[in-house]
Symmetry: C2
Subunit: 326 residues, 2 copies
Amino acid sequence: MGKKHVAIGIDIGGTNTVFGIVDKEGNFLAEGKIKTRDYDEIEVYLAALNEKVRLELRKLNEKVDVFGIGIGAPMGNINKGTIEYAADLPWKGIIPLADLFKQFTTLPVTVTNDANAAAIGEMIYGGAKGMKNFVVITLGTGLGSGFVVNGELVYGNDGFAGEIGHTSIRPGESNRQCACGRKGCLETYVSATGIKRTVFKLLGDMIDDSPLRDLSFNELTASDISEAAKKGDKVAMAAFEHTGRMLGYKLADVVAHTNPEAIFLFGGLTLSGDLIFEPARRHMEQNLLEIYKGKVKLLPSKLNTQNAAVLGASALVWNHHDNNKK
Amino acid sequence: MGKKHVAIGIDIGGTNTVFGIVDKEGNFLAEGKIKTRDYDEIEVYLAALNEKVRLELRKLNEKVDVFGIGIGAPMGNINKGTIEYAADLPWKGIIPLADLFKQFTTLPVTVTNDANAAAIGEMIYGGAKGMKNFVVITLGTGLGSGFVVNGELVYGNDGFAGEIGHTSIRPGESNRQCACGRKGCLETYVSATGIKRTVFKLLGDMIDDSPLRDLSFNELTASDISEAAKKGDKVAMAAFEHTGRMLGYKLADVVAHTNPEAIFLFGGLTLSGDLIFEPARRHMEQNLLEIYKGKVKLLPSKLNTQNAAVLGASALVWNHHDNNKK
């Protein structure tokens, strides 16, 4: 019997870096993580990460044949194998990630942004199987997006397509500062951080009692808001309505640009279910041209598990491998 | 010597329908037009149009071999060969255009929206030759758009991609009514009609003398505004600044979605040159994420001639023909 074909998927997040050794069916043979934030220097970080991956590979010893490494990272650029100006990572400027990996491995390394990785994961393992036109939106600390058109991921001319998190809700009018240096970006409203910011503004505007009044900004989490909303807390419910509205506005733009079959929402905030989906869908529909109304599905990602981002990153390897065979 | 291969390109506009018999190099062997507005019934219109085309073909008699008919029309749908709910045309609801053509011809008929036709024309004959990722925006009575991604036109799941004219500048806040039934759509600001509306609002807000104060709304044209602006008229200049700003805001969204190499502006309003390009470019750049700044070209279409829309429609035939050969 031949060796099992596997890919190494790596998801680089602001807090943790998670990796997995994954077969073509999406099964995890091994996994592990290191703390991204512990490493101010990229070289030290990569040495630690590669050591950890090597250990896991050694445990699987002769049983696997590794096809490549797929990496999802904020501002990951597929054309250049770089991470560029990622606000949430410890390393500033342009990081030549794929090149730096060459010190540690001869395997092909593919880098893309985390939302593009999620979109490929959704296409290969998730709810977008068989779809040719769809969009995945990831809601985490920030908001990322990956567009698939005519069955292919949209990278764009510079490798940076899919940043709807940095389109503006009301250009020139919002005061809400974004980590990118501008104001009013969608992710300042629609993300785990965004909904917290909205709650704090609503706590200022509204006079209703709320358990959220006992928490500091740094204490409050998106799941506190979700729990409160489920119990009927007016501030939390208003925050979800507002978040869904901002998202719905921008989803309408996505539809008018690329007319997808479905839009998938991915990430922690989507676990709040209809609290976010219902207002997002309603405001999207209200802002759609007649020809689009009722046609675009707004769905939860089918990869909403802890390992989804790693799965998406590993799928990059197969996507890359299969495209090269064409 | 064999017969010359030609396509029939038809551009259906709200006022006129223009057609051409065009060879593969984009040369016009014949052309003609009929008044769209004169025909309340689609069947009578099509009979008249086909009769006119047949006459021109007869003049060329045995010298051409017609490969097909390409039609650009507002709300044209490539999947179904229909025109659906086009606000500017005399025929309401869903018009099965390609099917209706079968009464008159056995040639293959391809229908798409006018901006998609312009994008294909730009790719085959214009400034987008060799580009894989670009967007064409047509500025006429309304505002249309055609997206090309990975070398292919984006039609989307329902055949209706590329309607940035109906994305909202400030969702839920604008009072400017759109023919589509909603408010604040981009085309209510950025189009020949849009800039007129802006001039009239500015004539109310400002106290500067202006020759534009002598014209009624129905008299005023976009070229009056352009001429006045070139002479330093403050109201006209403010109108162009405002129009460019609204366009720039939405171009920034286009870049964040699909990261094109270039965006081409097409149509009458672009003849005003820097009056529209300079503010559009400035506001686009101001609203771009760092990674995109200075990278996306904003260019005038190279098809800015009277026959460009027909050329684009004829290019549909070759695009369709070449794709079927693959």
